[in-house]
């Protein structure tokens, strides 16, 4: 035995199989049902958005890393995931340059200016979504009906105009995705499948999705109880807009969400309540993305809600 080849380092000497690459790949595969639904409802337009968005994210990240003499990190699939997620929250009506600019902004302003994966304070995908929303608000609010290019209002936009309109929507249609919406948020079923994959593989913990959905359901149920004609039931709010996408893919994003159990529960619950406040009384039809961005800023505070140390009072 040649002792010169022996490695000496600190314990532990064995480690689990989880890695950043694996985490990203599992998240990407959990998004596949959603992507398939998006392709089914929006066809080639949906595919174009996804491909452009993913490509831009990978290229922009690599170029920045090359310019700043850093190690290329496209192999960790985080850029792919970001581009993919970003494509899924865009409406299918957008021209080709929207996913390109948006994905680029997500990588540059959302991620790389802070130092890359692990350092950014706000969910980069949502940062970019807000930038686009502020810059090209009308294009970002133009939704097509599935299987067509008819311009329609999303359910949340419709009830913003007239709250009583929620009677027109069948909950099942909303859940399966035959109503207008963004590429990846129309089909609630696919998102729930993805969410179950993430929670059951323990990639995300149940705390944030569950408390987020409870926060929304609680506010909606109370209001529905007060005035059932003007306020849709909780289920309507749970399956429309970006609720499910936010619950499973955007809110539990590891870097920008809290890590302690109580912190995660409060983060999710308050984000849910905030979503409902924006939906009901804010200027925007769907508040979930804004709610997460605002809550991201408070993540360091939620991390102070630590479990009690063993052996201390």
């Amino acid at each position: 035995m040649d002792s010169a080849n022996l490695i000496v380092s600190m314990s532990p000497h064995i480690r689990g199989r989880i890695s950043v690459e694996r985490m990203m790949l599992i998240t990407i595969s959990a998004l596949i049902p959603t992507a398939v639904a998006g392709l089914y409802y929006f066809g080639i337009k949906g595919l174009m958005i996804m491909v452009l968005s993913v490509l831009t994210a990978v290229v922009v990240e690599s170029v920045i890393e090359w310019l700043t003499h850093r190690q290329l990190t496209f192999k960790d699939y985080h850029a792919v995931l970001m581009g993919f997620l970003f494509a899924l929250i865009l409406p299918s009506s957008v021209p080709w340059w929207i996913p390109v600019i948006g994905s680029g902004v997500a990588v540059i302003l959302g991620k790389m200016v802070f130092g890359g994966l692990g350092t950014y304070p706000f969910n980069p995908v949502l940062v970019s979504w807000v930038v686009l929303k502020l810059s090209w608000g009308e294009r970002m609010s133009l939704f097509f009906s599935p299987h067509s290019t008819d311009q329609v209002l999303t359910p949340l936009m419709a009830i913003k105009e007239d709250p009583a309109l929620f009677y027109d929507y069948e909950l099942m249609d909303l859940f399966v995705g035959t109503q207008a919406g963004a590429v990846g948020t129309v089909c609630g079923l696919a998102l729930v499948i993805g969410g179950i994959v993430l929670v059951s593989t323990k990639l995300i913990r149940w705390h944030i999705p569950v408390s987020f959905l409870i926060g929304i359901a609680l506010v909606a149920t109370i209001l529905h109880g007060i005035n059932a004609d003007m306020n849709p039931p909780a289920l309507f709010h749970l399956i429309t807009g970006g609720t499910l996408m936010t619950a499973f893919f955007l809110a539990p994003e590891p870097v920008t969400s809290p890590v302690t159990p109580v912190g995660m529960l409060s983060f999710g619950f308050l984000a849910g309540v905030l979503t409902m406040i924006i939906r009901l009384w804010g200027a925007h039809p769907d508040g979930s993305f804004y709610a997460i961005l605002i809550m991201n800023a408070a993540t360091p505070l939620f991390n102070n809600l630590k479990p009690r140390l063993y052996g201390r009072r």
Binding site: H13, I14, S19, L117, G118, P254, R308, L309, Y310, G311
Partner: protein, 450 residues
């Protein structure tokens, strides 16, 4: 889950079922460090050239924090020098070159009845046999049972000082790491020494109840042995725990799970919460030493790892070099990337196979390149919170590691870095492969120094 909500489940657990320990042949030479525990070193009482027999005292204890040292083979003293030990330190040691005859020293009269001995006599015999405790910080067994300083006093909320009485004796047949298997193996054997060891411990601690902890994946004899022993003493419970769970057998975790008491970390001891916790190997060694009057000269250890031809439990004379033990079980089948003394989760990596087997060693592992994961080129913490979910002492390891890496030791101490039990669970689950325990040890070291 169940009893243990934190921690991890390791894929590879030692299964002692049907294993017979391999006897390592009598070594031609043994090296015995003068200190094989935390405390004072023994002083050699022999000279180079002296002839010694197995079990003969070759170094005496100069003080209460020291233990005498016994020859483990018969032969002549060939050197009194220095050797590298498993802790990575050079320590003075006595080397004996064997004569191959294995003649035994006549032991002092064995202890007939535990009840007739006084506490001081019992402790004296324990120390005389050179018994130590197991775990990360092994100390002489007698010191662990009877701390020389006054028993720790605790202030209750109303300001009264209370002295904690030991009410529970816990005997665990689980190893501190699932990959180690000596205690689980011993649980499947019948031992006459066990009841004697238990009787002695009961007398010394004054415990009212005895609890056995067995691995639920172990063969039925485990429970049988425990029950047989229990008939002769006042056993009040057998708890079957998941032996693949880690760190279920860590004293702090075990006592919390079974008795809902928390050892006051960082400097706490099971006795602070009224518990005496020993593993089966220690209790059996104590029983054997009391009933035969002979000090332990052999040690059971686990040998494992993908680089070795055979894995299992071996029994070897103390002072045998680890290289010799590995050769005796068939040697390497593949190139080893790491040689680990102890278990894969908490052991020490070594570059030299000439280190002698000492009383603290629980196992030797030769891991291949595929089995180990290096932390070289580790990433930024991605704040995923996996470490928080597994930390048995409820730290927030990810955040803590940032403080340690940036030398903010004041913040690290405030966040409880000193409470870290260095189990390695956070490292195990970290997707960024950060060397978390390494950073915590660094911070602890800096805090202790300063």
């Amino acid at each position: 889950m169940g009893l243990f909500t934190k921690g991890i489940t390791l894929p590879k657990a030692f299964t002692p079922n049907g294993i017979t320990p391999v006897d390592i042949p009598l070594p031609g030479q043994v090296t015995l460090p003068l200190r094989q525990y935390l405390g004072e070193a023994a002083e050699p009482s022999v000279q180079v050239g002296d002839t010694v027999e197995v079990g003969q005292v070759i170094a005496t204890a100069p003080g209460p924090q020291a233990l005498p040292l016994h020859a483990t083979i018969s032969g002549s003293i060939s050197a009194i020098g220095e050797t590298l030990t498993y802790k990575g330190l050079g320590l003075p040691a006595i080397t004996i070159t064997g004569d191959g005859k294995d003649t035994w020293h006549t032991p002092p009269e064995p202890t007939a009845d535990i009840d007739t001995l006084t506490v001081d006599e019992l402790i004296g015999r324990m120390d005389g046999a050179g018994l130590i405790t197991t775990g990360m910080f092994p100390v002489p067994l007698g010191r662990d049972l009877m701390p020389l300083e006054q028993p720790k006093t605790h202030l209750t909320l109303d300001g009264r000082a209370v002295v904690q009485r030991i009410d529970t004796l816990m005997i665990t047949a689980c190893d501190t790491e699932p990959a180690l298997g000596v205690n689980r193996f011993l649980a499947t054997t019948d031992s006459e020494a066990l009841p004697i060891g238990i009787a002695a411990l009961t007398k010394l601690t004054g415990a009212d109840q005895i609890r056995f902890i067995v691995d639920k994946y172990n063969d039925p004899p485990a429970q049988l042995t425990a029950l047989t022993a229990a008939d002769e003493t006042e056993c009040t419970g057998i708890s079957a725990i998941n032996g693949r769970h880690y760190p279920a057998a860590h004293p702090a975790v075990l006592i919390k799970a079974l008795l809902h008491r928390e050892i006051p970390l960082p400097y706490g001891h099971p006795r602070d919460v009224g518990v005496a916790l020993y593993d089966l190997a220690t209790v059996m060694a104590l029983g054997a030493a009391l009933s035969t009057g002979l000090p332990p000269v052999t040690q059971l250890i686990t040998v494992g790892g993908g680089a070795l031809k055979t894995q299992g439990i071996v029994t070897a004379r103390l002072g045998t070099s680890l290289g010799e033990i590995i050769e005796a079980v068939g040697g390497f089948s593949r190139d080893a990337a790491k040689i680990i003394v102890g278990g894969p989760m908490t052991g020490m990596a070594h570059y030299d196979l000439s280190i002698p087997l000492t009383k603290e060693v629980a196992g030797v592992f030769a891991l291949t390149e595929e089995e180990i994961t290096l932390t070289e080129g580790y990433r930024q913490c991605i704040n995923c919170g996996r470490c928080v979910a597994v930390c048995p002492v409820n730290l927030v390891p990810g955040m803590l590691s940032l403080y340690c890496a940036k030398d903010r030791f004041d913040r690290a101490e405030h966040q409880g870095v000193l409470s870290c039990i260095e189990c390695g669970c956070c490292d195990y689950v970290c997707p960024s492969r950060r060397p978390l325990v390494h950073l915590f040890r660094y911070a602890k070291h800096q805090l202790m120094e300063g």
